[in-house]
């Protein structure tokens, strides 16, 4: 029951922190490097949360959100990864790869949320033309929807992870995922290296 409560609180917190990614503040509180240890602390596995979070961060810095591009979502990845380990009971290695997938799969969800707001423009214009200048409620609705969707999404991944753990004979996969997980820091470091190397040695 406590684990379920923690999972729900963690998912709700992920929903709130996700607002920082695009909609409010943008202080980087939504980044996996922060979400990972915070949710890890909340769920009794701070070190694993921090590892999962920063490794996801190292892979996710490869994506830049320019010009309306919807990159894979780091908050969803870190939250789903940490909960797959703490609430789902999966080893950190498998939880990490599930988190990676959760972040990628959230991208089309986010695209649809943004696209669903396009028809609002006509409605907002009509409202302003009618003399009602309250734009705040539109922005609040957008943020509330994003929070709810993220909360439910993270919970769904936690449930999926718990269900996955019940699969008979899943443990045969662990040696492979453990080894791959031990190589991920190096993949992340190479990403960090290439990100700045291309800037330094840019032609033209």
């Amino acid at each position: 029951m406590t684990a379920l409560f923690h999972a729900f609180v963690s998912a709700a917190l992920a929903g709130l922190l996700n607002l920082d990614a695009v909609q409010a503040f943008q202080f980087l509180l939504s980044r996996p490097a922060f979400v990972g240890p915070v949710l890890g602390l909340l769920n009794g596995c701070p070190a694993e949360g921090a590892k999962i979070g920063v490794l996801l961060e190292l892979l996710y810095i490869d994506f830049i959100p320019v010009g309306g591009v919807v990159p894979p979502n780091g908050t969803a990845a870190a939250a789903a990864g940490v909960l797959a380990h703490s609430a789902g009971g999966l080893p950190p290695s498998l939880a990490f790869f599930l988190g990676l997938a959760a972040g990628v799969v959230y991208s089309p969800v986010e695209y649809r949320l943004r696209a669903a707001r396009s028809p609002w423009n006509v409605l907002v214009e009509a409202q302003v033309a009618a003399g009602d200048f309250n734009l705040r409620r539109w922005l609040a609705s957008a943020m509330l929807t994003e929070t709810l969707v993220m909360t439910l999404y993270v919970l769904a991944w936690a449930v999926a992870a718990a269900a996955l753990r019940l699969l008979p004979g899943l443990t045969w996969l662990y040696p492979g995922t453990d080894f791959a997980y031990s190589l991920i820091p190096w993949l992340g470091l190479s990403g960090l290296y290439f990100r700045f190397r291309t800037q330094i040695y840019k032609k033209g």
Binding site: L59, F63, L135, W138, Y174, D178, F179, Y181
Partner: protein
Amino acid sequence: MLFSMFLRSFFLQAGWNYERFQNLGFAFSLEPALRRIYPDGEKFKAALLRHLAIFNTQPYMASFVLGNIARIEEKAAGSASPEAELKYMPGVKQALASSFASIGDRIFWGRLKPMTVQLCLLVWAAGGFYGWLFTGVDAPVSAGLLLAGPLAGIFVYSAFSVYWRWKGLRAGYTCGGSAACALDSCDWPRQIKLLSTAGFAMSLAIVLLSFGLLAAANRGHVTWHGAALRLALPVMVLLVHRASRAYGRSVFFAAGVILAVSVLFFSLLGLEPFNLYL
């Protein structure tokens, strides 16, 4: 008025949509200025509707445009022919949005953001936490240190972003009216170059530190060929990533290759797994 706009600018992207991008947030952020400039309800309504048009830029740098547009609206309201004052406003808004988007994307997304991760790793290294590198090690670590890493990056990054949000608003409002307004408020190319150099130096330092830690972790425990294999594996990972980039694939492709090969060898074929460190 400027402070109210500054606070509202933190919600610039709250209503982001594919039809007009940041228009809802822009109109919301500009509202305090428009209310002061146009006490008359009809004029205020017309101004608010004007700014529900398409708008998109880098969110931190949007304040340069906000300040500029507030000044243009102010001039127009006090002018004998407001139409003439407002005639070039959409063009100025668009030109500034594009220019500042290009600068902001390079500085914040392309450089400062990855540098926050570097700061996090360096703080953890200074505190003696290497769990992010040696994923199988469960050494005790304080919650304070775990949070100090990401918070160091967040603090530095946010200090920069908040500073530029406020400075941009003031600079835009001071010189408002021209399409080149405040673009010279900083030597941007020099800043971009400096950040690139600092980021690359930190990347190199972290990579070298990691290889040093790997060598130290294996020293005296494995044979020469065992040590060579353990040092060669990270290099191979780097090459896989390099190859995937050369073929236009993302880092996820490289991660997928690593996972698939590991599962093949250690799960399906049943090879004895080993650690990168002993």
